[in-house]
Amino acid sequence: MSIMDHNGGSVIAMVGKDCVAIASDLRLGDRALSISSNFQRIFPITDRIYVGLPGLGTDVATLRERFRFRVNMYTIKEEREIEPETFAHLVSSTLYEHRFGPYFIEPVMAGMSKTPSGGYKPFIAATDLIGCLNFAKDFVVAGTASSKLYGVAEGLWEPDLEPEDLFETISQTLLNAADRDAFSGWGAIVHIITKDKIITRTLKGRMD
């Protein structure tokens, strides 16, 4: 069994119409034994960027702090907030620095990026544990339920979903995929990011 599956947990991000969504289950386990049903692995980076860190629990905490370090240095030097595309490359370079002794995390990012005309457009991305970037136009998945998430998301996702419809789609995708995975589940948290607000909802799931 891989170290990637030791604590369990999954994250998914989806693109909608002028919005993005990112969701994760809340389980932290020790192999098959569940330890916590309220483990947060999605963190805000700016007002418009969230990152989910599925993988080894100890590296969730460490990477979160390292990203905070590098984002703070970026913000204070550039005197502006980091853009999602830039943050994705920051994540990638942080992970690749540890190419031969990696953090056991496969980050998923979701955010709204500024366009030259002053508007906002949805952005999602994911990387593997050594920082290989995957910019997707529809959805990205990672974690112990990733193979199941792919299947359900392929079936449920459609283009240009409004925020509330996107919430329903991502919630159903995550809950149903997690039910088919012994290492994910025990409730979920969903963030919907639009250009001017963030909707956060905690979902109940099967407790078995």
Binding site: E65, R66, R68, F69, N72, M73, I76, K77, E79, R80
Partner: protein, 263 residues
């Protein structure tokens, strides 16, 4: 013969002095003035800009960022503002070092760096250049205006020798002696930020050699506590805000040019 002890930074003269360090401090006493006042509910910093000119591009200072024109006053961390006097290039390097040190502390302890510790980190480095040979010392003095939960608001000063000290009100750069004696007369122990702002600006206007006090010559910052979150709020004023502040404090002197235009 005294010159023999000038060339190496780390050699004592027969009188027991380190000339290069003293020269560095002398250079700073010609730099733009930086002035800080510690109040009961915050810290106030003001700085005189020496480099001005019609062709200098200040557009980046007007919009975006933390405000200020980024020449003398810098945000070092969310709880510390720094004011620098001396060689600008050396200062930039020190500001970068301070910001990294503060973030490293946040990474290790998950809390903002205490103000004195940040001053110590920089002084450890500055002191190194007075002892280990070959390189010149940093030609920079700094004022640190900061807040931490244990010692509340603080104001520190550090110089090229690596000495640092805490102050209620102090001044570095040109005319620092005049400013310090003015502050000594006027400072009261329980001064509030709103009065400290007036004290800082009045002292600045008396020590600066230019007759006009405006955003082209002045940088200004205030560190207070947010009444709701109880977290430090570092505000570096934008040029327009400085002019508005000077106007409300009644310190905008008549400009020669405007008089000419009026007649």
């Amino acid at each position: 013969m005294a010159r023999r002890y000038d060339s190496r930074t780390t050699i004592f003269s027969p009188e027991g002095r380190l000339y290069q360090i003293e020269y560095a401090m002398e250079a700073i006493s010609h730099a733009g003035t930086v002035l800080g006042v510690l109040a009961k509910d915050g810290v106030v910093l003001a700085a005189e800009k020496k480099v001005t000119g019609k062709l200098l591009d200040l557009s980046s200072a007007k919009d975006g960022g933390y405000g200020g024109s980024g020449e003398k006053i810098y945000l070092l961390n969310s709880n510390v503002i720094g004011g620098v006097a001396g060689l600008t290039a050396d200062a930039n390097s020190l500001v970068n070092y301070a910001r990294t040190a503060a973030q490293r502390h946040l990474l290790q302890y998950n809390e903002d760096i205490p103000v004195e510790l940040l001053a110590q980190r920089l002084c450890d480095m500055k002191q190194g250049y007075t002892q280990f040979g070959g390189l010149r010392p940093f030609g920079v003095s700094l004022l640190y205006a900061g807040y931490d939960p244990h010692y509340q608001f603080q104001l520190y000063h550090s110089d090229p020798s690596g000495n640092y000290s805490g102050w209620k009100a102090t001044c570095i750069g040109a005319n620092n002696g005049t400013a310090q004696s003015l502050l000594k007369q006027e400072y009261k122990d329980d001064i509030l930020v709103k009065d400290a702002i007036g004290l800082v600006l009045r002292t600045m206007s008396k020590t600066m050699d230019s007759t006009t006090l405006n955003s082209e010559k002045l940088e200004f910052a205030v560190l207070t506590l947010d009444p709701e979150t109880k977290r430090p709020n570092a505000k570096i004023y934008r040029p327009a805000e400085i002019d508005a502040l000077l106007l409300s404090e009644g310190l905008t002197k008549q400009d020669d040019d405007t008089e000419m235009k009026a007649t």
